[in-house]
Each structure stands twice: as C-alpha cells, then as structure tokens.
C-alpha cells in the first residue's frame, strides 16, 4: 500500500495532463469503487430483475416474468402504506426528539461544573451499548408487564409493547440516539468563539437573546449534520423492531425495512420484496439528492465564511 500512496509525489499545477497520468491519479480510488459497485450495484440490478418476476421460494419453479404486476400489488397493499407511514413517523419523531434532548444536554454540559467529564462520559453510554442488546433489554427489563422497571416505578401492569408498540420502540431509539446528537452539538458549542459571546454580553444582550441570535445560527451546521446522520440510520431501523415487537401487534409497529425483510425471509416472496426494495431505493435517492445538495451548500458556506 505504501508504494501506491507515495507514488504521485510531484504535483504539477499545470492543468492539461496526458490521459495516462489522469488515470494514474485515479488509481487509488479504484479499489473503493470496485467494492462499492460489486456489493451495492450488482445486487441492486439483481433486485430490479427479480422485481419483474413472480417468484415465491415456497413454490419452486414458479418463477416467471410478470412485468409491473409486483409494483401494482405493492402500491395496492395497505400494509405497505402502513409500514411507510410508520417509517416516516418513527424517523421524524425520533430525530426531532433526540435532537431536542441532545441540544438540552449539550447546553448543560457546556457549562463548567464539578465532575463534568464524568457526567459527559456517563451520558454517552446508551449510544455505546450494542443496539441489539439495548433493544432486548428495554423489552425484557423496562417494558415487561410484570417485571419491567417502568411498571415498577409508575405502578400498574400495562403491557407497554402491545399497548403502545410504536411509541415504545421510539422511546428506545431516542434513548439510544440522544447521546450521539449531544456529542455533535457539544462539539459545535465548544467551537464557538468566546469573544463574540462576551461582546454580546457587553452589548447588553440577555441570555436568551445571545442563544437565539448567536449560538443557534452558529450551531445550525451541526444541527443539520446531526439530523442528517441520525435520519440515515434511524430510517433503516431494524434491530429495535425485530427484537422488541416483531412489527406487531399485527403490523402496528412494522416499518419498511422490517416489512421488506418479512416478505423476503418469512413470506419467501422474492418478487414482491424486490419490488419494495426498488421503491425504497428510489425514494431514498430522491431524499438523498435533496440532503446532499443541502450538505454541499453548507460546506461551501462554511468554507466561505472561514
């Protein structure tokens, strides 16, 4: 590897280069591209191919071309629409709540107090616990109707996971992601210049005024980044739902990733689950294009300011 790394050592500023050097310059990128194409694009093409087939693993030899039938079925499927709605609710609520809580915690931690380092470290722990283990433990030791800590503290014997499945899952996800948001926002808070804050104070700006017109605008980049990264992962939430509610009761807490998984690995309906996969990819592409544009704009703005 070292050989590849040191190779293009001279860096001529002259723009017109022979084609061969142009390609040599791109050489270090090839392995990454190769991997990404191999593992994401080939299977994706296979998915697209499957999505035009009627193919259920339970009925061997039933595979045949059906055109757009799978897509028609998927859009007519009320469970699919329900799962889509659940995904949107789960993502929006979790990102928003954990961002808000994270902002609050970051503001707390931005002050000087005894044992701040310890408190910060303790606060991060939920994010470090293996998500699968976190989900299982919320299920067995927090929400359990007889032995759960929630009922132990608040009394009653509500079976939280069947009474409020989606809300319970969201509680766990928020608990898991708040520290992440907090860390990013805290980095932003500590990056702001003390002089500006002092200047604001000298000019007679109140605590709230300072926060709203100086801190918050400066934080917006970090808030956006935290929301974006959080959303990418939360939209794909799978472990929490699989381990806590199995999407149930019924389909009350089924989100898209879990529904697709169910169709493929429990319903063995490769055709339909592939069609859903394609739809999800297309939706993601649309959302991602917007977010990427937003991100690049943020980059440009920040480098312009600095």
């Amino acid at each position: 590897m070292t050989a590849t790394l040191t190779e293009p050592k001279q860096r001529p500023a002259a723009p017109p280069k022979p084609r061969s050097t142009g390609w040599r310059r791109r050489l270090p990128l090839l392995p990454a591209l190769f991997f990404v194409i191999l593992v994401t694009q080939i299977p994706f093409l296979v998915t697209v191919f499957y999505s035009f087939q009627s193919w259920n693993l339970v009925r061997p030899g039933s595979q045949h071309f059906v055109g757009l039938q799978n897509y028609v079925d998927v859009f007519a499927d009320s469970q699919f629409r329900g799962a889509m709605l659940n995904t949107v609710v789960l993502t929006v609520v979790c990102v928003f709540v954990s961002l808000l809580l994270g902002l609050g915690l970051a503001l707390l931690l931005d002050r000087q107090f005894l044992g701040r380092g310890v408190v910060r470290t303790l606060l991060i722990t939920p994010f470090l616990i293996l998500p699968a283990a976190g989900a299982l433990l919320w299920k067995t030791s927090m929400f359990h109707p007889n032995y759960g800590l929630v009922n132990f503290v608040f009394g009653g014997n509500t079976d939280w996971l069947s009474a409020f499945p989606l809300a319970s899952v969201m509680t766990q996800v928020v608990w898991q992601w708040t520290p992440f948001m907090m860390l990013l926002i805290l980095a932003g808070l500590q990056g702001q210049s003390k002089e500006v804050l002092e200047a604001a104070q000298v000019d007679g700006a109140g605590r709230w005024r300072t926060f709203a017109s100086i801190t918050l605008p400066q934080l917006s980049r970090y808030l956006q980044l935290a929301a974006l990264l959080g959303a990418i992962y939360i939209v794909n939430s799978f472990d929490a739902i699989y381990l806590m509610t199995q999407g149930g009761p019924g389909t009350a807490s089924t989100n898209l990733p879990y529904y697709i998984y169910q169709r493929a690995f429990e319903g063995f309906d490769i055709g339909q689950s592939s069609a859903m996969g394609v739809i999800v990819v297309v939706l993601t592409l649309i959302v991602a294009t917007f977010t990427l544009r937003l991100m690049f704009r943020t980059f440009d703005v920040s480098s312009g300011v600095k």
Partner: protein, 280 residues
C-alpha cells in the same frame, strides 16, 4: 451557560438538579442491566435495584455456552478484518480525494455519501441469493463483504477530512533533505496521518460490531453468527430459564470494548465526525 452569566447559589442548585435528572435518565437503564447481570436466578425478578445476593453465575453461564463464545469470536474476527480492509481501501481513496485534483471529484464524494444512505434492507435478499449461489452464505467473507462496503463511505468521509489538515509540504521538504520517497512517507507523513486513520478504524469497527440486519439474514449457524444475531436467539432458547440475566451479562461483556475505545478516544471521534462537516 454559566460562563456568561453570574452563577448565583439558587441557579446552581437548579442546574445541579437538572444534571441529576439527566444523568438518571441516561443511566438508569444501563445500571439496571449491570445489576441484572449480577443477580442470581432466584432474585432476578425481585425488582431490587441492587442485587440482594451478588453472583457471577450469569457470566459463567454465557462463557460456558458455545453459542456465545463462538459468536464473540466471530464478531471480533469479522469486525477486525472488515475494519482493516475498509480502512486500507478508504485511505487510498481519501488520499486521492484530499491530495489530487481531477475532474469528477465532487461526484465521487457524492457517490460515497449516497452509498452510506443506500437502504441496506433492499440489498439483503439479493445478497442472500447471490451468496447462496456462490457458496458465501453463512461464511465470514459473506459478512465481511457488505461490512466493508458500508464501512467505506464512513472511512472515506472522515479520512479525507483528516488528510486535508496534513501539511503535505513537509514531505517535499524531507525529500529535499535527502530522504527517499519511502522514508519521507514513513518518517513524516505516516505519523501525521496515523491519528486520523486510527479514529476512522474505531468508527468503522463500531459500525460493523453493531450490525444486526446482515448478521441475522446472511448467517444461519454458529459458523459465522455474530453476537447481535446470537443474542436474539437467547430469548427463545429453552436452555435458560429466564434469559434476562444471561442477556444482561452478554450485553455487559460486548459493550465493554466499545466503552473502553470511546473513553480513550472520545475527543478524537467527535473531531472525526464533525471536521468533515465543517471543513468539507
């Protein structure tokens, strides 16, 4: 925000109360897990916050079942190999992005971010089919492949931010002083790049260590099942009366390495995640 305002005693008390509340919120479930893991089977459901009789039986149990030990071995092996490959390939790509100018660079960064956002679940069933056809299903490479792919965007993203900060002129200076290119790289550039590479490795490691979706759908036996997937089988397994204690013990065991990593490198990790955003 006491650094601006004047902290009166009353305000101090208010803040301390808030702090306490916050710590309780984050920590109660965690402490509860630790407490459960040390409870004996009889007192598991007594609802006591502090175990009445301390017992390490749960820990002994999980290390005696092959199910867990083997999964732990798989998890460590697969995560380490995936991290290594992703960081090596990612370093090359990030180096090119940070140092060389070529058309289409921005598109490439865009593509790598796009891959990070690519819904993993839509790849699971085709990967399952392909890996079964190739004989990769339920093997280590079968999991390493998707892990490297989804680790790469993260690696490229953080590494290219770190590499931008490196003063590359030093390399030239070293060569002028008579160092060979290899020496210049080894003695000057490598030490400067190491912290960034290391941070990236930790992030990628955590990503693969935590994965559940691929682990549950691309494995079927102990040959390659990792801890997250193995944990989900603890619930149904009849060999434990109540899996709560053993799950807790397993959770504690597998969380410790991550907590240690992050405790040592906390500042760096945040720097790695934010520098990309701020300096693009």
């Amino acid at each position: 925000m006491a650094m601006i305002g004047v902290a009166t005693t009353r305000r101090k008390i208010q803040w301390s109360f808030l702090d306490l509340l916050v710590v309780v919120y984050a920590l109660v479930p965690v402490l509860w897990i630790v407490s459960l893991s040390f409870k004996s089977k009889e007192t598991l459901n007594d609802g006591n916050f502090i175990p009445r009789e301390w017992s390490i039986q749960n820990y002994v149990d999980i290390f005696q079942t092959n199910e867990f030990v083997r999964a732990l071995f798989n998890s460590i092996g697969i995560a380490l190999i995936s991290t290594f490959i992703a960081v090596v390939i990612g370093t090359m790509a990030a180096y090119a992005i940070a140092r060389l100018d070529f058309p289409g660079k921005r598109v490439l960064i865009g593509v790598s971010l796009l891959v990070a956002m690519f819904p993993q679940v839509s790849l699971v069933s085709p990967l399952f089919e392909i890996e079964r056809a190739l004989g990769l299903f339920d093997t280590w490479p079968g999991l390493i492949l998707p892990y490297v792919t989804f680790g790469l965007p993260l690696a490229i993203y953080t590494l290219s931010a770190f590499f931008k900060e490196i003063p590359w002129e030093l390399e030239k200076a070293a060569k002028m002083d008579g160092a060979t290119p290899a020496q210049a790289f080894r003695k000057v550039i490598a030490p400067l790049a190491a912290p960034g590479v290391f941070t990236t490795a930790i992030l990628v490691f955590i990503l693969t260590w935590n994965d559940f979706l691929f682990a549950i759908s691309l494995t079927s036996t102990e040959a390659s099942r990792t801890v997250p997937a193995a944990l989900s089988f603890f619930t149904g397994a009849s060999q434990f009366e109540d899996p709560k204690g053993t799950i807790s013990a397993a959770a504690v065991v597998i969380t410790i390495p991550i907590i240690l990593f992050v405790l040592f490198f906390q500042r760096r990790i945040v720097a790695g995640l934010t520098s990309g955003a701020v300096k693009g």
